[in-house]
Amino acid sequence: MLSIENLKAKIDEKEILKGLNLNIKPGEVHAIMGPNGSGKSTLSNILSGKKGYEINGKVTFDGENLLELETEERAHKGIFLAFQYPMEIPGVNTNTFLKTSINAIKKARGEKELDAIEFLKLIKEKSAELKFDEKILNRQLNVGFSGGEKKKNEILQMSILNPKLSILDETDSGLDIDALRIVSEGVNSLRNKNNSFLIITHYQRLLDYIKPDFVHVLKNGQIIKSGDFELAKELEKVGYEDFN
């Protein structure tokens, strides 16, 4: 589904990714762990099309050259990024935003857009699944949301948009145990043979709930080791500093 070959990325002349390789097949859950500054967020930004990077290498998504697509086209094709720091959008009602988003994607795919009633039904169902207080959806998007509410809102969006590839950029940072469980349940409920996940994290904690199929260690812009869930446990013991 996603294939990354020898990906290099620079920002302001500083090389951040130095030849990264990764393959994700449908239905797989991959975790990328790494210390601060190793290039984790850069990778998620590049996959979702953020501007400002000088990029070399090859990235394909369902056989298509991903790097040529605009951010919104990637969303239309089924890539979703749960932000580490979701943006606050003043004056925009969360429900209005969710409806605009899902219908933009449906329209691009040539599917029928949801009317108000269908949309409300979907929202009710998904909010209940994620134990998400619906009242929050009548507030301005992420404005005055707590850290946990913002992250849960990301997961709600993910679950509504039902993407093929979900990238979670340190979604676990700043979450309490209950919120962490809800986020994990959100991911697990979307898991099926078609949907894949790329979970970026510092800690093993989230992975205990999600149980990824593969764990990769990112250090200095490269994946230095790949393995299964046991690798995460080993990392937690040894620490990034001494891990080679």
Binding site: G49, K50, L81, F83, I89, P90, V92, I105
Partner: protein
Amino acid sequence: MQNELKLNFDKIISLNNFSDSQKKIKQENFNNYFEKGLPNKRNEDWKFSDINQIISKNFDNLNFIVDQKKFFEEKDFPLDFEHNKISFVDGKLYDFDFKHEDKDKILVDQNLDLDDTIYQNTLLNLNSAFLTSVSKITIKKGYNVKKPLILFNYLSDGLKSSAINSRVDINLEDESSLCLVNFLNENSEKNFINFRQKIKIGENSILKNYNLDSYTSENIKYFNKDINLSKNSHLEYFILSEGSKFIKQDINCNLDDEYGSIALNGIINLENEKHHEIKTVINHKKENCKSYQLIKSVLNDKSKGIYQGKIFVSPEAQKTDGYQLSRALLLNESVEFNAKPELEIYADDVKCSHGSTSGNIDENSIFYLMSRGLSYSESKKLLTNGFLNEVIEKISNEDVKRLVKKLSGINV
């Protein structure tokens, strides 16, 4: 243009049956204008909007004598709520309808009682000199007007290069309330419109006043407003400034007695080469009054927006709360926004502040929205609409709020 103007003025005097004192006031105002001309940028109040230059750029000649032809079409305005209305044609009272109200509680009249002040502002000289009538609306003591009152301003068909002078005086007697919508959407192209409104809000009375300029037109407008607030009265004021080629709204509010309060909010939303200014003066004259102002601007293409806001606190006005905030989004390099906040405070026990920010749209927010499937332009639109919507949400009359959302297309 000057000689023509003098002929126009003499004609106005000879055609109408003014009293001697009226003639005198008119003549003095005219003389002051004739001597000084239109305000220009050397005048501090007109620093950012040189009306002299704007008028001469837009009009070869201005006709000051307007015959009321009464041929105009009522536009299909998107009004889906019950309302009262007064129609003005070419600045003069034409018709009114208060079908939702007690008839003896509202007086509508027209006469020519001018103040004997000779204004320093030469646009007001011009207004006084060429007015042939002043419309007066009185809300009687203790009456709460049930439905919003909409003031429609129509212009005769085919009218162009004309100067329209209009004046409406509104008096809310004590313990009354009114929701007043100034619909500044004329059905014409390219005229110079010089409006003046003088409002008095009586004790314990409430005025909600919404001023909506939203239909694109080539008109050049000046809207001057004096509002006096009595004891324990409240003013909610809202401005939607986006339609006209040029409009300056000059709003002077006087908190004449204790416990008065003002919430003044506005939107400047411009494209093309439009040039809009909001200038406010809030005069805190007595103790325990409050004023809040929030102006948000979004500027696109080669437009120009200005907010000049002054809070004046007299020595007697202790325990004053006076706040103002201006925020502007500049969508490209060729727009211009000027903010000039002023605080002039002579009392020592007050809470006052002002703030002004202007900047680009946040690219990280755009990226966030695009990652959810919206295109760049849709994301930008949603962000700017959200930015402006925060001001619209402050409108307390739900019918008017809906109208403003419809007129502006801001619905998020």
